[in-house]
Amino acid sequence: VNARRRIRTEVNGRMIEADVAANQSLTEVLRTVAGATDVKYGCGEGVCGTCCIVLNGEPVNSCLVFAVQADGAVITTLNGLVGDDGRLHPLQEAFLAHGAAQCGFCTAGMVLTAQWLLKRDRSLDREQLRAGLAGNLCRCTGYVKILDAVEDYARRSVPSGD
């Protein structure tokens, strides 16, 4: 029981191999083995959104995935949005410009979720963005600046003339 099992997972373009116990969460393995400390452990029950990662193209709560379930998966964490030259993703730039990150604990989940929402549908309005981000908790900003940043990015990323 709980025998360790070898998993291979691509994290931000890098192949990671790890021997994990069945009961280790993906959050823990990403942080301790893959060095992805941008993945934050918050509530541990899928309510707060801080452990958000993009798993095979879709945001999920990594605290509710056992690492063994992610064998063979392709994962992007917040740092995976940063360019090879170190340039921040435009949505991260918008967070900076709007003061949308304070303590920063929720930022990875906010950015990854918002980016996915807008990738799926660029035309989301503020109310729809608010609904989409409803499961990402922030205890600092009161959400206004976060929505400002996301909305600003959404408008700027629409082709000009639209």
Partner: protein, 295 residues
Amino acid sequence: VYSAPFEYLRAGSWEEAVALLSEHGEGARAIAGGQSLVPMMMFRLTELSVLVDLADVDAGAIEVVDGHLVLPALTRYVDLETSAIVRSTLGVLSETAACIGNVRVRNRGTVGGSLAHADPSVELPCLTVALGGRVRTLGAEGARTMPVRDIFSGYFETTLRPHEMITALELPLLPARSGAAFAELTRRASDFASVEVAAVVTLDEDGRCCDVRLVVGAVASRPLDVSRSVAGLLGGHVTDDAVASAVSAVAADIDIEFTAHGSIEYQRRMVEVFAGRALRKAAARASNGYPRAAA
């Protein structure tokens, strides 16, 4: 937090999952999206010795067959939200799926998991009972089908046999001049429902109500079918006054169990409010030819 240690296995098919579960006995459980099971394991509300992951089982396609929308059990909530076939045949299912958890939960949680978990304060049990759904299951004793309403026996308890898994959900398409609606009260965004109501209304050619189904969730150990309490709507036009009188009968009749969501009197009042909203919306949709004309 850590769950108790367990052995992790992957099944490539439903049949293989049944074999693995049978082989490993009582402490073995199937996992699909894991959005309820994983937290229960992490917080040690349940301890399992073997987890059989259904991730490699072919989810299959959502189809309309013989007047029924057939959803493979591994259909995720996000698929309900976005599927063109679901939206055009039973739009209420897409709308309701959007009320579940948050986007990350909806990307993993599944239809079969929601029903098998049998949490009375989540959305799909209440809605699918109102829609008259049936589940297909597979277990060591073979396959069977049964009405969704018959699988819930109490809080987080079902009539499914040990290791029997839900493999699909069949929902009859609504007859002509029918409308369905779901309404829920949540204390916070994405939270479990304090009160939830699903309504299905069918009108005759003169616009009079000829069938009404009303199911209330989150106020007892399983969804409560209170259609009999609103039988006063039958044979008449579904006016605001008729709805008001029907939902007042529901509130008077319903057997509410105390929950952490509020006092029984508060729940009773909220049942009245949300049943009214669901019925009015369902009736409006029925008279507009829902779902085809639904925006």
